[in-house]
């Protein structure tokens, strides 16, 4: 329950930053989807359970603070996330493959939910991927709290 509370807090913070601070600083064309980046960072860390919860909560908060039907982003996030999970189980669990999946997912979401411009969707997707990698690299300090997995060991294994 405490973790859910922290997830709600973090996602509110991310949505507010995404909609106001980053949107003003970088403009909408170069604004990464922080909610998606944060949720999908758990996919990179093999913690799908927390990733799903984060995307459900984050999508809901995002819709509440924008002009979108409530639940739309959550639903789309969860479907894309699960497709990525299935793909990793069947094809590869390597990080580069997950990066590719995240990039495709972010492109699809941006293209259908934000802009019909494929070029703009690619830019936003690339920035979302970059942000997700940053979240992933922060795992020792922040994300491990949610996942409770031995990420240091996992990453050591990956690097070797």
């Amino acid at each position: 329950m405490k973790k859910i509370g922290v997830l709600i807090f973090v996602n509110i913070l991310l949505v507010i930053l995404q909609n106001s601070f980053f949107n003003e600083l970088f403009s909408a064309k170069f604004n990464p989807n922080l909610v998606m980046a944060f949720g999908f960072a758990f996919l990179l860390m093999n913690d799908e359970e927390v990733g799903l919860s984060s995307l459900l909560i984050g999508g809901l908060v995002y819709d509440l603070l924008t002009f979108v039907t409530v639940g739309f982003s959550s639903f789309l996030f969860l479907i894309l996330f699960e497709l990525c999970v299935i793909a990793t189980h069947y094809f590869s669990k390597s990080l580069p493959f997950k990066f590719l999946l995240l990039f495709i997912s972010a492109t699809i979401y941006t293209f259908f939910a934000v802009s019909n411009s494929f070029g703009s969707a690619l830019v936003v997707a690339a920035l979302t991927l970059l942000t997700s990698i940053i979240f992933y690299l922060l795992d020792a300090n922040l994300l491990r709290y949610f996942s409770g997995t031995e990420l240091g060991l996992m990453r050591q294994g990956y690097r070797s």
Binding site: N23, K29, L65, E82, S120
Partner: protein, 260 residues
Amino acid sequence: MLVKKLFVAFVILALGFLGVFNPFRTVVQYIFTPVEFGLKNTASSIKDTGNFFIALKGLRDQNISLIKENQNLKSIILSLKQADDENKILRTQLNLKNRNTFDKKLLLANVMGNAKDLTGGSVIIDKGTRQGVKAGSNVILANYLVGIVKDTQSERSLVSLITSPDISATVRDIDVAQHTEGLAVGQYGTSIQMTRILPNEVINVGDTIVTSGKDGIFDANLLLGKVVKVVSVPAEPLKSAYIETQIDLANLDKVFVIIE
């Protein structure tokens, strides 16, 4: 677990379509709107500071040209004052109501960019239905038309800017005697195109374009901008012109909503 979460998301989406969450959304927006607009202002200050240092080199040249422009404007103001005095005397003589009196109520609103619009053709303002904003309300800054309210929620509204392709307004040229009319359409957040100008009608670069009010959507005599280019293709029956707005739509901070 996934099926459970997907089901929850689907139920939320279904209820969202029915508008069940609207009261909750109102509360959430009531709490977070000031925070969002505060953060936007902070980002805006950071951006301005950065831009200031970047533009430092060109500021001297800009200053010199502004001094010259200021001198020209002072002379224009002087002639306008004389015309104004003359106008007042004539109005008194004719017993006419002062046309400059804006008899509609204006509502001041803060502006925040719309993260869901990558074209920059819309913005979000911090006033909604609770403050009397309705879909279709005109949004202005000074005498300039900024856009129109497309969607409203309790605490905020979505405004389509005049440079958005969603917007078209009937306009006229006030600098030519025949008051050439046309239809102004936004060009994906960059400029405005004035279309449907008859070949025999006159329109020149530098002319001032205002709304005519004939569309019933926009009030009349709201400034759009100046003509920067006139396009006349011999094969096409109608002319078109490109209008540049005199306000910086990309860096809007505050606007006024005309409340009917």
